[in-house]
């Protein structure tokens, strides 16, 4: 067994939550730069330039790129040969987020569903845990804002809907979302599994580094086709009209029940914050 102390986890998660919110990933910066080359609308080009400038200011002046520093979502892969010492894993993850949001001057955006009273420390967090082989602990810190999460959708389609039905629903979801999820967006798609699994797949697909192809050539082709369709909607940067509605489409797929075709569309805004820690 390899031992990892909860303190190590707290420190790493704290640091990652701050950095994720202050430093836009190189992959996203590159995608925005290349979008600038494709954009035809002048307003759209101006917006893309300002987004790149925004990322630079955030990184240099150490303030969040977006004030909605989101709900903290953590994807965790725990190697079976890892033993967490000094307390619970979940508590350590939560403590890391609590400290990161306080010390990093991040906005606490979690509240009671009805009273809307803020919980005060951006907890509870949302953890998706996977047990894997090996002696590593991998954590992706993925803060997610409300604007783009609100525009995400889940469909339990009839199996006969097929690829055409899936495509139609995805394009429709993006078009209807319009300006609300702060385009240019990244579209995470989960196909198959069941009701909840499709949603988790959709979100998990967003962890893939932008610009890297889907390892499954068939899915890679579907992603390309979808992206082209989405970028015909005219939504454009910030929904003010243009070519670049989305920077990429990512798909994860798995088998499902013979009677079902679950489809989840998780929209990610350009402030795509994802940071990977390996302990």
């Amino acid at each position: 067994m390899r031992e990892i102390s909860t303190q190590t986890i707290v420190d790493a998660v704290k640091d990652a939550s701050i950095r994720a919110n202050l430093e836009l990933g190189d992959d996203v910066v590159q995608a925005l730069e290349s979008a600038l080359g494709y954009e035809e609308s002048n307003v759209g080009k101006d917006i893309l330039k300002k987004l790149l400038e925004n990322a630079e200011i955030a990184r240099e002046e150490r303030i969040p790129m977006c004030q909605d520093t989101g709900v903290a979502v953590l994807f965790v892969e725990l190697g079976q040969e890892v033993s967490v010492k000094g307390g619970g894993l979940r508590q350590a993850l939560e403590e890391g987020i609590r400290q990161g949001y306080e010390e990093g001057f991040l906005r606490k955006s979690v509240c009671h569903p009805f009273t809307r009273k803020n919980t005060g420390d951006n907890t509870p967090i949302i953890v998706h845990l996977d047990l894997v082989s090996g002696d590593k602990l991998k954590i992706w810190v993925v803060p997610k804002g409300g604007g783009s999460e609100n525009m995400s959708r889940l469909f339990m389609l009839p199996p006969s809907a097929g690829w055409d039905g899936i495509k139609e629903k995805i394009v429709q979801t993006v078009a209807e979302a319009g300006p609300n999820p702060c385009p240019p967006t990244i579209i995470g798609v989960g196909i198959g599994g069941n009701f909840e699994k499709s949603a988790i797949l959709a979100k998990k697909s967003l962890l893939r580094v932008l610009g890297t192809p889907n390892p499954d050539p068939e899915l890679a082709e579907m992603e390309q086709e979808l992206l082209e369709e989405i970028n015909k909607t005219g939504v454009g940067p910030q929904g003010l009209g243009g070519r670049m509605t989305s920077l990429a489409v990512h798909i994860l797929m798995m088998p499902c029940h013979i009677a079902s075709l679950p489809l989840a569309v998780n929209i990610q805004c350009h402030a795509s914050r994802h940071l990977e820690i390996v302990l």
């Binding site: 035809e40 609308s41 002048n42 307003v43 101006d46 917006i47 300002k50 987004l51 400038e53 925004n54 990322a55 200011i57 955030a58 002046e61 150490r62 303030i63 969040p64 790129m65 977006c66 004030q67 909605d68 520093t69 001057f105 991040l106 906005r107 809307r116 803020n118 804002g145 604007g147 609100n150 394009v171 319009g178 300006p179 609300n180 702060c182 369709e229 015909k232 909607t233 005219g234 939504v235 454009g236 910030q238 929904g239 003010l240 009209g241 243009g242 070519r243 805004c269 350009h270 402030a271």
Partner: protein, 185 residues
């Protein structure tokens, strides 16, 4: 592309009548922040005929809930929030002389009509550009509802705050016209 204007608050009908959807503006002067919770409180005061914590006539309201200010800064990241949540309140404020609203996302038919009737404009700030917007904010102080935290009403002194005109006094809507121009489906 549209024209570029520099607006100095407070605004008059003459200041905003030349603005057209698609124009780019920079705004300087005093503006106020408010989100849904603050709007609800203002409406209650209006209905009760009580004095309001901020002036409305000629003013600009920015829909924003900033992140906390780190030491040595006047404000944290301060990009716009989605505007439709303020739609139920905006027509009344426009009637009282509000001239500008800054946010992101579409407005309702009622708000767009009220802008035509009472001469007001709606401008989009770039959603998610919180650091860029913060740079244009030179001073900030809470003027009401401190208990609402990020949703409190703040008075901001801004210099060259960038925005894009979406709805003008003629009823144009860049979200509709801009998208139609580039739609290929």
């Amino acid at each position: 592309m549209g024209n570029e204007y520099h607006l100095k608050t407070p605004l008059s009908a003459e200041d905003i009548e030349p603005l057209r959807s698609g124009d780019r503006v920079t705004i300087s002067g005093i503006i106020y922040t408010a989100r849904d919770a603050a709007h609800r409180k203002i409406m209650e005061l209006i209905e009760a005929g009580k004095e309001l914590p901020i002036p409305i006539e000629g003013q600009v309201i920015y829909y924003v809930g900033p992140s906390p200010a780190p030491p040595g800064r006047v404000i944290g990241a301060a990009g716009p929030t989605t505007s439709y949540r303020m739609d139920p309140f905006a027509p009344k404020l426009l009637e009282l002389g509000l001239k500008g609203m800054i946010g992101k996302g579409k407005r309702s038919k009622e708000v767009i009509e009220a802008m035509v009737r009472h001469k007001g404009v709606y401008m989009a700030a770039i959603g998610g550009a919180g650091a860029l917007m913060a740079r244009a904010i030179k001073a900030a102080r809470v003027v009401a509802y401190e208990e609402l935290g990020p949703e409190a009403i703040r008075e901001l002194r801004v210099e060259g705050l960038p925005a894009i005109v979406v709805n003008d006094t003629l009823g144009n809507d860049l979200y509709v016209e801009g998208q139609e121009k580039y739609r290929m489906l």
